[in-house]
Subunit: 232 residues, 2 copies
Amino acid sequence: MKIRGYGQYCPVAKTAAVVSGRWTLLILRDFVLRGTRRYNELKRGNPLIPPSVLAQRLKSLEYAKIIARERSAHGNTWEYHLTEAGEELRPLIEAAGHWGQRWLGSTLTRNDVTPSVLMWDIKRKLRCNELPPDRTVICVEFTDLKRMRFWWLVVEEGNADICMENPGHDVDITIYADLLSLTQVFLGSMSISRALSEGKVRTSGRRELTKSISRWFGVSMFADDNPLNRTG
Amino acid sequence: MKIRGYGQYCPVAKTAAVVSGRWTLLILRDFVLRGTRRYNELKRGNPLIPPSVLAQRLKSLEYAKIIARERSAHGNTWEYHLTEAGEELRPLIEAAGHWGQRWLGSTLTRNDVTPSVLMWDIKRKLRCNELPPDRTVICVEFTDLKRMRFWWLVVEEGNADICMENPGHDVDITIYADLLSLTQVFLGSMSISRALSEGKVRTSGRRELTKSISRWFGVSMFADDNPLNRTG
DNA sequence: CAGTATCCGATGCGATACTG
DNA sequence: CAGTATCGCATCGGATACTG
């Protein structure tokens, strides 16, 4: 486990030696912004990372004392968590996100979107307390997909679960959208109300859930950095 | 000129695709923090970068609209400058520097230090207005070096020049130090007064310049992030 | 001064398969 | 679930030499 540096004393260079390998910043993002703790969660959040690379990066980050690996609460599996040093990478990660949204947000293409990643992001940002107190079932149908077309979010007691098969309960609201449009909504480059009025997103089901959708449908933490949202 | 992305819509991933190549963050540091504008300045600040890699990175950054290349004022050479997008990378670079100083500052070794880079950093941070209004000549002698042992800073009219040969003027103050110690002083991991009292750094010449040294000898912008300086 | 040209070697990386 | 093992290719990166 050797870290290849740059032969420079500059603190920026020291940091760069640790965080600038391929995939590394994304793994850190998962820890810092998504609260990820497990190997397979990291795979889910980064579908294209080779498992060997992920394993190697985790070892490096552990070696650098940015994360630590330990038994989970139940003791039957492993978990990673940020150290204090790792926590303090938050400003760096957030700066990267703000900048990317502001200056590269318009580069979004079909190659950048994956239904599973989007659905987990949506789930994570769902404002459950803005939904009815009893169980709510939200169905998402990606109108342009064959596989991975249907997703269900079951919200109960302030907690959301993701299913890929019909969970059997009555569906309270269905959201129809193509994958790219719903991603744009999540990223804040298109407001959900505009998406609805333009027909990019449609809904069916209980009317009051559609009316309140912009309250319970949370968006990316970088949504406000979108150039469209600039006040200046 | 293709940028290899990660197949993710996340703004952090978009940024990572642009800035996380080897040397890239350091080149950006030179633009953002050192005010570098020229190819050879970049080489000076990054002695180990291969010229072909530097050229490729500059092209990439230009392609990404982070820097722009244009004729210098005199028109006989080329200069780079940050675009607005590039300027806004400052928070990212500074976050990297703060973190590196705080968590990796103690990893400094002999392999990380270069006299030329240090001298240019010192020159850049010299507080000329704290020096006498007339010409001041500062000699730095790296006591552990054979080559690159002597350096002169000629400060005149609020401006400092670096020489590697005796400029001929009388020397007002000479600073003797080994390369690692003076680097530590610059980085703030050792205060100059402590370095003097411990004999890591010595001076000769005009007494008033030694007495005021902690005023005119500027340090790294990350010096305060050193764990030693923590108040908490 | 500001880069190209060339070349080679390491290794990072990706793909796939497999395991306790 | 949480990774290893293997493997081969590509390409990145480093060194050196050279040029308008």
